[in-house]
Symmetry: D2
Subunit: 141 residues, 4 copies
């Protein structure tokens, strides 16, 4: 199993095709692409915080969704625009202040659907902050 795109190629693709995700600054960056997992780092800005300095739930959802999207790009390349059909996320611990990362693993890559998991961590701790499972529809390619 090889990867169709590396981290730099995915970042360049996202920047070109999804400029909106960087509209508040470049806060998301794919840092590692391996056959079994893709890691995205997230540097929260003011817009991503909640009272007390904690990172908001919607920001973590964005991280999960982007990690999933990047993992599908890594596997299939930029041939097809996958679409989120279902995402289930459990928020387990208040994230520590500071940067976070999402680690995505593909559970199944079928012809029409891709199912994957994303684990979300604070850089400051090894405890799992949130866990998501998502299903993405893969257009014919």
């Amino acid at each position: 199993m090889t990867c169709a795109m590396n981290a730099g190629e995915i970042n360049a693709f996202l920047e070109k095709e999804f400029p909106q995700i960087h509209i508040n600054g470049k806060v998301f960056e794919v840092t590692e692409v391996k056959p079994e997992s893709v890691t995205i780092h997230f540097t929260p800005g003011e817009a991503h915080l909640r009272p007390g300095g904690t990172v908001s739930g919607p920001s973590m959802f964005t991280l999960a969704d982007l990690a999933a999207y990047a993992a599908i790009l890594a596997r299939l390349g930029p041939v097809a625009l996958a679409v989120t059909t279902n995402l289930n996320i459990n928020f387990m611990r208040k994230p520590s202040p500071g940067n976070m990362r999402g680690v995505c693993r593909i559970l199944k890559l079928g012809k029409r659907l891709c199912v994957l998991n994303v684990d979300i961590y604070s850089d400051a701790s090894s405890a799992l902050v949130a866990h998501a499972t998502g299903t993405y529809s893969i257009p014919p390619h």
Copy 2:
């Protein structure tokens, strides 16, 4: 069953306590509070779009999460800061360009957990765009 806060009070509370949600402009506004449902309107800005002008999944998650939070405020008042523990969202149709709304109904309000549904629509169509079910933890109050 009466409401502890009306639409204006919830908007004022969110603006004061969660100024971050308005950091890209005031795009979310509670427009209707009834005992059985709470409606939030969403005026997507550039940051909420995806290629082709469609509203992004994370923006709809934000709408669902905020609608749920507002519905709990409407019922309990500003005594307790509910925390999202689980949110499951199905994206069913590409939203029409333009404004959207989320309609939240509480399925169960227990002492410790609140379970609710959010239906998301484009203003331009009556077809359901997305459907979310969420669980919120209610702190002792």
Copy 3:
């Protein structure tokens, strides 16, 4: 919008094609098929109970899954065997002893995927016991 099968036809189809669901007695029966919803009644037996006489979670999952399957049959007819790809269920209240029902509404019937909701009630109460959202894969037909 019309229905491709009525309640009697769906019950006969299930009995013929899925005899296993009746192996502990005929506990599930489609009782109403309308264009907007399908209702299944459930008469729990000893095998479906938990200590204290409450109906088990897996039994309610079975009810939800069967209600969804029946709703797809009602719409498409027996041409295609839909397959569950995702089911998310929230258990909200302990069911009252006695019979239950599941009411399924299709949220989206696409070419490849069907998304639907199931509300589960005890016959003895109007309070919602459980709520499920499911996605089913529709084979080419």
Copy 4:
């Protein structure tokens, strides 16, 4: 981190407290309890099958729910009866005929809620058949 109960103790507890799960024969058995995971084996009977000999979705839900329950028992002991509040399950591959197993890992064990994952496999293959994430309410203990 140690375990409060071992496999034999959990099996004995389930048999005594939940005799209903064995009403169609003893098909579920806890086979391994480790601090980081609990494994349950499942020997499907006629009642658990679907046309073509495949194991039904509700049977896999039962396996997931029981694996989760056993994992909480392993950690807390028989002091508290955990209750399923949410379970999200993705079915990814048709299981191979024959026995199956569920492997449960606790993601978070809080005072009030426990969140965990269950991976479901056919014994005949290493490919993941289904993946569940569940939330259980822990009564005061």
